[in-house]
Symmetry: C2
Subunit: 242 residues, 2 copies
DNA sequence: AAGTGGTCTAGACCACGCC
DNA sequence: GCGTGGTCTAGACCACTTT
């Protein structure tokens, strides 16, 4: 690894710049693997801790990501996510020339906690369907989601094919239509469970997207919590005012 | 600092847990200052690097923040931001019982770059107004923004009072009304300029919120780039479907 | 088995905020 | 001027992935 003019690669921001320069020059393509930390070290004369500080910096900026104990890789371009669109993850990822995949991790019936009961307007302890899914772009896991549905609106939902768009299933099989959405987005850290599901280190920054869908009668159709990798996503919304 | 039952405070996740427990128990209120790194060290027997790893973890999670070379502090609750609401930052921060402040950093006239010209539909090199502002919640800087406006829509804009809602000024003084918004949100790292304006360390995670406002004729009214602290913000949107 | 990242230690010096 | 965080060094051992 050579350096741009006169950068001080003994400091972590200098090391950062020299690696960033290689990525931006196109020497390293998307998902390319970086040299090992010890190799980067010998290229710069810095201690390994310094090299790692530079790599953490680039990770926070979304330029690189890591696979546990395997190595550091160049991040691909983020995909654009429009929470107001309804054709679903699978089709808009495809529309951007990327390869989507959804994996159903599991389903179960749960008793509503106080918070869930409040959202659905049911009694605490009422039964709800719970779905956990993991979604991929180009074989990289980018989000895990937990979805809750009221069985009274969609009895027998768990017997259907849930590897695609849930909203489509609800519409087609149960004539349940979404009229309104409440969407929350909040930067967060990926904690134990989400991080494990995404196979990243716990504590990596992420984005929590929460969606509550209502039908025309104001009933809650679907409550969805999506934990995204922070570097996989760009949210874009077009909103009419008034 | 005592510990929850049996946590291993020699490891950074153990140190993290013991500090997090103190915050969540309410021992430390909002904006309270944590003990110094060297004090935390002696309380746990860990090396200072380990203590710092724990603090970085908590920072990524949004529980604490730092003031350069001053110390670590407990993060206050995030404010809720609704990009579809038009009464402006000042009033919705107040509505949440917090104390907002806007500071005009500077204004100027700039020549449109290729990207800006494309957004506004003008020739490259055309003149645009540029405003830079910094906004606070409870005297903590939470965002810096750069706003561009086409002078043909609002001649003499820079002579008005720009410490409040720009949209109000445009509506009141120029009868320019927003009919549509395109809003983009993307996790990012706060780079040099933004980090300096927010007085945080360069590289801290943030959220870039970009808004393009259009009037009923489809003309660009306002182009706004907001760089937010990642722990200051929760985006919440209510959207009608169909 | 070899190599990788993940973690940790125990020092050190500096620039800067605060008093 | 003292204490703080910011940065850096030069080791070490472990758990895991990869070959």
């Amino acid at each position: 690894m050579d350096l741009p003019d006169g950068a001080d690669t003994r400091h972590y921001l200098g090391v950062r710049d020299s690696i960033a320069a290689h990525i931006e020059n196109g020497d390293l393509g998307h998902n390319a693997c970086l040299p090992s930390e010890r190799q980067l070290q010998s290229g710069t004369g810095a201690a390994r801790g310094t090299v790692r500080a530079a790599l953490f910096q680039l990770e926070a900026e979304g330029l690189i990501y890591r696979k546990e104990r395997s190595g550091w890789y160049v991040s691909p371009a983020p995909i654009v996510y429009d929470p107001t669109r309804w054709e679903g993850f699978m089709s808009y990822v495809k529309a951007q020339g990327r390869d989507p995949k959804t994996e159903l991790l599991g389903t179960c019936e749960v008793q509503a906690t106080a918070a869930l009961a409040d959202i659905f307007g049911v009694d605490a302890g009422a039964t709800l369907y719970e779905l956990r899914r993991r979604r991929y772009v180009d074989d990289r896991a980018v989000l895990v989601e937990t979805i809750y549905v009221d069985p009274r609106l969609a009895p027998g939902l768990l017997d259907h094919d849930l590897d695609g768009s849930l909203t489509q299933v609800l519409k087609r099989e149960y004539v349940v239509d979404v009229a309104r959405n409440r969407i929350d987005m909040q930067p967060c850290a990926l904690t134990q469970a989400e991080a494990a599901a995404l196979r990243v280190k716990s504590g990596l920054p992420g984005l929590l997207v929460t969606r509550i869908s209502y039908d025309a009668q104001g009933r809650v159709v679907e409550y969805d919590q999506e934990y995204w990798r922070h570097d996989a996503l760009k949210v874009s919304v077009d909103i009419r005012v008034g």
